[in-house]
Point group: D3
């Protein structure tokens, strides 16, 4: 009965990538803990870069400097 | 001082349904644990069907098959 | 496919009360959103009163004053 | 390696306020626990007032009465 | 900067299994989204079977029936 | 009505430090967003170092190397 929450910044994650994350996380729980995929939930939470902070600044500001 | 998070897929939950979820969850904590409704928070988190996975696939794909 | 997290202070919640919370929350999602109980998860998270703060102080300190 | 989630109602939080929340929360973990800012994550989750309940009613309804 | 929370029932997850979950989840985010492992957090939350409900009953009760 | 969750590794956080985190986080929400302290919840979640991963390994293993 695992529940997996994946939080990433909202920076163009495609539907294919979401499917791959869900498939991969579900498989991981089966491989490591022998969990039944049917009762494994995966929730992807995309966070605006204004709303995610690292080292005391927003990812928006970090990305600007990276350009 | 309970905090309740309700995560559901974003599939047309109405304002009336949200009010009913909030009222019901608050009442549940009062009935079972005698908690004060005034200090009970309920947060509803609606998740896109592309972002919720069960059994290794997205709810979007599951819904397509159900039609 | 709902997921419900109930956070309460760890103050002697009994097994019977946990069962009642789980049963009640699951029923609520069925009543309001017609969700299938079989795919409804409820997780109860008990938090030490030292670790829960309201109005800027711990519940431990609040409880002391209430005595 | 702290992770801090700040949930507030979505009521016009500005980019400057988000930056101040991220900076302040990161500083707090450094001041109190001597954590390295570089490995401190802060995530701000803005919740629609229809989706946040207090005392059994939505913040939308509470706000209406306050006017 | 991903953050991954894995919630499973507390049923004897070993240190080796935890390491495998952390390694696997971190690799998944690198493979699918090209995320830097150094800034990927994985948190495993083990939940008592009394505190996890499925289909309106605790996992403790479900496990009893399975024996 | 803010809710703040602070997740840190369980490495000897004292009661005084918890009080300081709760007081500081509550003050931050008042300073930045003018939130009422009385309706601000802060929850501290201490995570075993075996259960927290960074860069694909547990904090337990990272700490061993640091010695």
């Amino acid at each position: 009965m695992p529940y997996i929450k994946i939080e990433v910044t909202r920076e163009g994650v495609t539907r294919e990538q979401k499917t791959a994350l869900i498939k991969g996380a579900t498989q991981l729980l089966t491989d490591v803990l022998n969990k039944d995929p049917k009762s494994t939930f995966v929730v992807i939470d995309e966070i605006d870069t204004d709303n995610w902070g690292v080292a005391g600044e927003t990812v928006t500001d970090i990305r600007k400097r990276e350009v």
